[in-house]
């Protein structure tokens, strides 16, 4: 009989990709964000879940799957295209096995990649019938995984707070989409970028959501001062929704570029890819059709250090290191929770560690390996704490403090400055104007005729897509800026066209057909979400 744990640990993986789907192009670079994430993150995670369940490890993990990501994973066009992409990758990896004959380091690795990609193909095509959402749903139904939703298109709510209708729409559409895909009401939500403002919780309550997450200072700076700091949830006084916040220490151990685990010199180097390294004649069929080089996903070198001369990657060595860091992480949590528990005199602390899901596997290749071992070691090698999900924690520890969380986000500086600064401030004037127009439309049309209803729904889709926080994020980071600007402009243009057409009652059905075909996110959307309930 295991002794009762003295504390809890909840790991949260936030899986999000912006909605990128270009049926009008045969090949589109930005769609590869999704394909790479499937190969390197989502499929390994599913394999990990399956294996943990098979070995009888009763693990607990929380994942956000944003509605835009779920829509893409469930989209038949992207599924087909992913299979084509993966087929080419398998082909390339087989060529690599041939090319690296005689180079023992590289050949072993090439064989590993080839086997792995083929297996990924089988899992995607046969096991999950091309729809990974069903896979994640399975583990949610088993009770091991808690999937929470996110703002519909990852809209950053604090910058739309003067339009409550827009906030309501982001939340309601997300919940609706979640219900369709997971056949259940979502219990929690991940506010995009953890962006919270006072009053956002009202719309969460209205949508039937029980909890959400903020960054550490969201709770630490709450009013009144929380008794247990960042290590217990609080309830919003207005709505009663529970708030969990990120723990700094465990985040730092994985995220930090200085002392974080992924910086270990034996781990795989992300920026050395054969797409850039090999002869153009050899690789040209696997990079962009116009000849621009890109990442293929086959990488042979390790981080090595702060040097340009990289050493070959050794899988066994990397796995050993991942094992070591998993032990270290579990140990650190045990120590942390012991200390907290002594300080709290009986209140059982909860440590919440949220990370980007794409960190595991895509950026940090050994991430799933590490996570797998953390789950197992937390089950077998300690009796200090128990891994849990926020909802289960609330069921076990229902008495918590009332406090008003402070406005915050998990971006640089902890507030809105990453999504509103000199690089991207120009878009908000237009986004706000469009939001205002959409709200006007929603209140004006009670009973539109079918074509008009389609146009109104499409206008809502275009607005949601334009509001995505990814576009200002990309503008700030400075890579692929043209694409982000183009996307915002295109969606706003389509929205304004629709607005004018609806306004003048001069709808153009053919053009509407085309736009519906291009931006087909949320097929079931109802424009009336832009009316305050």
């Amino acid at each position: 009989m295991k002794a009762a744990p003295i504390g809890f640990h909840a790991m949260v993986l936030h899986a999000h990709l912006p909605y990128v789907r270009h049926p009008e192009y045969d090949y589109f670079l930005e769609e590869h964000w999704l394909y790479e994430a499937i190969t390197e993150t989502y499929v390994p995670l599913l394999v990990m879940f399956e294996n943990l369940v098979r070995d009888g490890v009763d693990f607990r993990l929380t994942m956000t799957m944003t509605p835009s990501l779920v829509s893409m994973l469930a989209d038949p066009l992207l599924q087909d295209r992913y299979l084509i992409y993966l087929g080419r990758l398998v082909e390339l990896s087989e060529k690599e096995v041939f090319r690296t004959q005689g180079q023992s380091y590289f050949n072993d690795l090439a064989r590993y990649y080839a086997r792995r990609f083929k297996e990924t193909y089988r899992i995607f095509d046969d096991q999950y019938k091309r729809n990974l959402v069903t896979g994640f749903k399975l583990f949610q139904d088993l009770g091991n995984l808690e999937i929470v939703t996110c703002c519909a298109t990852h809209g950053f709510l604090p910058l739309f707070q003067m339009y409550p209708e827009a906030v309501q729409a982001q939340v309601e559409v997300a919940v609706q989409s979640y219900k369709q895909h997971f056949d259940r009401q979502p219990r929690g939500i991940w506010l995009a970028e953890c962006g919270y403002y006072e009053g956002a919780d009202r719309f969460l309550k209205q949508a039937g959501i029980e909890f959400f997450f903020t960054d550490t200072h969201g709770i630490v700076n709450a009013t009144p001062r929380p008794r247990f700091g960042a290590y217990a949830p609080v309830f919003c006084p207005d709505s009663g929704v529970a708030v969990f916040c990120r723990d700094r220490e465990s985040s730092e151990q994985v995220w930090s570029s200085e002392v974080g685990y992924p910086g270990d010199h034996y781990f795989r180097e992300y920026y050395r890819d054969i797409g850039y390294d090999l002869d153009f004649d050899y690789i040209k069929d696997y990079v962009q059709p116009d000849g621009t080089r890109k990442n293929t996903g086959i990488k042979y070198f390790r981080v090595t250090g702060k040097t340009a001369v990289k050493q070959p990657y050794n899988l066994e060595m990397a796995r050993q290191r991942a094992d070591m860091y998993a032990s270290h992480f579990v140990k650190s949590r045990a120590e942390q929770i012991t200390n907290l528990s002594h300080a709290f005199e009986g209140h059982r602390p909860l440590v919440v560690s949220p990370y980007d899901a794409e960190l595991y596997g895509h950026w940090w290749f050994e991430g799933p390996e590490w996570l797998n071992l953390v789950m197992r070691k937390a089950t077998h090698n300690q009796s200090v704490y128990q891994m849990t999900t926020p909802y289960e924690y609330l069921l076990e520890n229902p008495t918590q403090q009332l406090a008003q969380p402070s406005p915050s986000s998990w971006g640089a500086n902890g507030y809105n400055s990453f999504w509103l600064n000199e690089t991207n401030d120009k878009i908000y004037r237009h986004l706000h104007k469009a939001t205002e127009r959409m709200i006007k439309l929603a209140y004006r049309f009670n009973d539109p005729y079918p074509l008009q209803r389609r146009a109104l729904d499409q206008a809502a889709r275009e607005l949601l897509l334009a509001q995505s926080s990814d576009w200002p994020f990309i503008m700030k980071t400075g890579t692929m800026v043209e694409y982000a600007v183009k996307r915002v402009k295109t969606h706003l243009y389509r929205f304004n066209q629709l607005y004018q057409q609806i306004h003048r009652d001069e709808l153009d059905p053919e053009w509407l057909d085309k736009v519906e075909y291009l931006d087909n996110i949320f097929p079931e959307i109802d424009y009336q979400v832009y009316r305050l309930k």
Binding site: Y25, Y27, V47, M48, V53, R54, D55, R115, L142, P158, L159, R184, Y197, N221, T223, P224, R246, W255, S257, E258, V259, G260, Y261, P262, G263, H265, E269, Y271, Q288, D290, V303, G305, T307, Q311, R319, K331, H342, D356, E358, H362, N372, N381, Q382, L395, Q400, Q401, S406, P407, S408, W410, N416, L420, D425, R429, K433, T477, E482, K486, K489, Y517
Partner: protein, 533 residues
């Protein structure tokens, strides 16, 4: 030949159908034209090019459709009840909707564009530039962080005219920020206000916020002879707090789970298998992704609370000697402390072995080492003086190293090139102690930790030790200490002559300019999210 109106198919088409037809005939500005004009234009077009085979059926189909609609609207088929009719209607609506949905989800691309990515970015067909400004009077404030916020504004034509005329007279414009916390603002009653000079035609401004955790509101105004005149007023925003709340009030609430649909809990895969199946589990794909899990015997159990500082023993006694641990935490046998040579006996034995009659050799001139005791004017032969010098040297070294008092010196300050040994006990909050030994040479300082010390142990003493020991990947600081005097930064790191590729560990490579390290391309640590780019 003119056709009679009742025979003319165009006469029977409604406006919508006419427009559709006009589009097929490529008639310009068809959306502006009245039905009569459209009919004329279509007739002209028909005369120019005789009706094609595709359009003829289109007209017929439209006619049939309209006639069907009229029929269904005017005379509902008899023999059906009203409810059945409603059902039928609903069903057909559903079907139509499903068909529409399938059509735009699964249809092959009708807009296939064989362009490259570059062309997409440059493509202009669906991108009109958004207007720079909107002709409406509005001022919008957006909170950024506790230090600053952003405002943008637009003017109506008339206001703009006024503003221009004021500008022509060089009248100053101001943004007046009001603190309106907990009050209804009427233009004058703010708690305090401050002003920032601005230019009205820039239409956006970043404003520094001298307060935080307050609600503020901005007015844009012009300063005329009789004072400030407000032109625009913004929405109120909350400047987020920068620190913990001064309010302490422990009010707790109990979480009540919302009733959810009872979910079917699936059987976990592992228990669903039969016992004989358990024995030979089917092959999983885990081996393609993860290493096999080997359980380790390490177990972490909760520790008792640390002693409070008041209960500690006074500092002049060594905190805990000898080191005793509770049984369950006994160190395994291999953890033997490094036994340093007993310095005094070592030197004495050395001296004893030297031939006594050896002639006095000329003393080799020693370089002035910065750690040597200063020459004094007292008799160098005297025992007291030597003791005093040694003591002074020890104290100085202690000061330099910033070490506590309890140091056991294992050797005296050397008069020639020999190492100094010393050791110290350090303790942690649990009153467990570890002995660290140092040997100080003119060219390096070596820190000895007990053999078999685990990561955990080392981490405990992290603060007490001279060096930071735990650093994933390498311990660069340690290496820096060990660098020979005068050696260049690079020399240390080059591969030793004759060392094979596998023997040479690249993990100790130096930090050079940040630009050369790929690791610095990692997304900023604080932002907490990566971007697939």
């Amino acid at each position: 030949m003119k056709t009679l109106p009742e025979e003319d198919p165009l006469q029977q088409l409604n406006k919508k159908a006419l427009r559709r037809l006009a589009r097929k005939y490529k008639i310009k500005h068809f959306y502006r034209k009245s039905p009569a004009t459209l009919r004329r234009a279509i007739r002209r077009a028909q005369e120019r090019e005789p009706i094609s085979e595709q359009i003829q059926p289109a007209i017929l189909q439209t006619q049939a459709q309209t006639s069907r609609e009229q029929q269904s609207e005017t005379s509902p088929p008899k023999g059906l009840s009203a409810e059945a009719l409603v059902d039928q209607r609903r069903q057909s609506e559903q079907e139509a909707y499903q068909e529409h949905r399938l059509r735009y989800l699964h249809a092959p691309s009708r807009f296939v564009h064989k362009g490259t990515h570059e062309e997409y970015i440059l493509e202009k067909d669906e991108e009109i530039e958004l207007p720079d400004f909107y002709a409406e009077d509005e001022l919008v404030a957006l909170s950024i962080d506790p230090q600053r916020f952003y405002v943008y504004w637009d003017f109506e034509e008339e206001t703009l005219f006024d503003v221009r005329s004021w500008l022509a007279e060089d009248t100053p414009f101001m943004l007046r920020v009001h603190d309106v916390t907990n009050l209804l603002f009427n233009g004058r009653n703010s708690h305090q206000s401050w002003e920032v000079k601005c230019h009205p035609l820039v239409r956006e401004w970043y404003v520094q916020a001298p307060v935080n955790n307050r609600n503020v509101l901005v007015e844009l105004g012009v300063v005329l002879n009789d004072g400030f005149h407000s032109i625009l007023q913004s929405n109120p925003i909350l400047i987020p707090p920068v620190s913990v709340s001064p309010v302490r009030q422990d009010e707790f609430a109990v979480f009540v789970a919302q009733p959810l649909r009872p979910e079917e809990k699936l059987q976990p895969v592992s228990t669903a298998l039969l016992p004989e199946q358990q024995a030979h589990k089917p092959e999983t794909s885990a081996k393609f992704f993860f290493q096999e899990y080997v359980p380790s015997p390490v177990q972490f159990n909760p520790l008792p609370p640390a002693k409070s500082i008041l209960e500690r023993q006074p500092a002049d006694q060594p905190a805990i000697l000898p080191w005793t641990l509770p049984e369950q935490h006994q160190v395994p046998e291999r953890a033997v402390f490094l036994r340093l040579p007993d310095a005094e006996t070592l030197w004495e034995a050395e001296e004893a072995r030297l031939p006594q009659t050896q002639p006095e050799q000329k003393a080799i001139p020693q370089p002035e080492m910065h750690w040597q005791a200063e020459q004094t004017e007292t008799d160098p032969e005297s025992e007291d003086t030597l003791a005093w010098i040694r003591q002074a040297g020890k104290e100085q070294i202690q000061t330099w190293l910033g070490l506590p008092q309890e140091i056991r010196w294992l050797s005296d300050i050397p008069s020639d090139l020999s190492p100094i040994f010393f050791e110290q006990w350090v303790t942690d909050p649990y009153d467990r102690a570890m002995m660290l030994s140092y040997s100080i040479w003119p060219w390096e300082i070596v820190e000895h930790i007990p053999l078999g010390a685990s990561d955990e142990l080392i981490r405990r003493f992290l603060g007490a030790s001279l060096f930071s020991w735990f650093k994933p990947g390498s311990s660069e600081r340690m290496v820096w200490w060990q660098r020979p005097l005068g050696a260049s930064e690079r020399s240390q790191w080059q591969q030793p002559l004759g060392a094979s590729e596998s023997l040479w560990s690249g993990s100790l490579q130096p930090s050079r300019s940040p630009g050369e390290s790929a690791w610095h391309l990692w997304p900023t640590p604080v932002s907490g999210r990566g971007l697939l780019s």
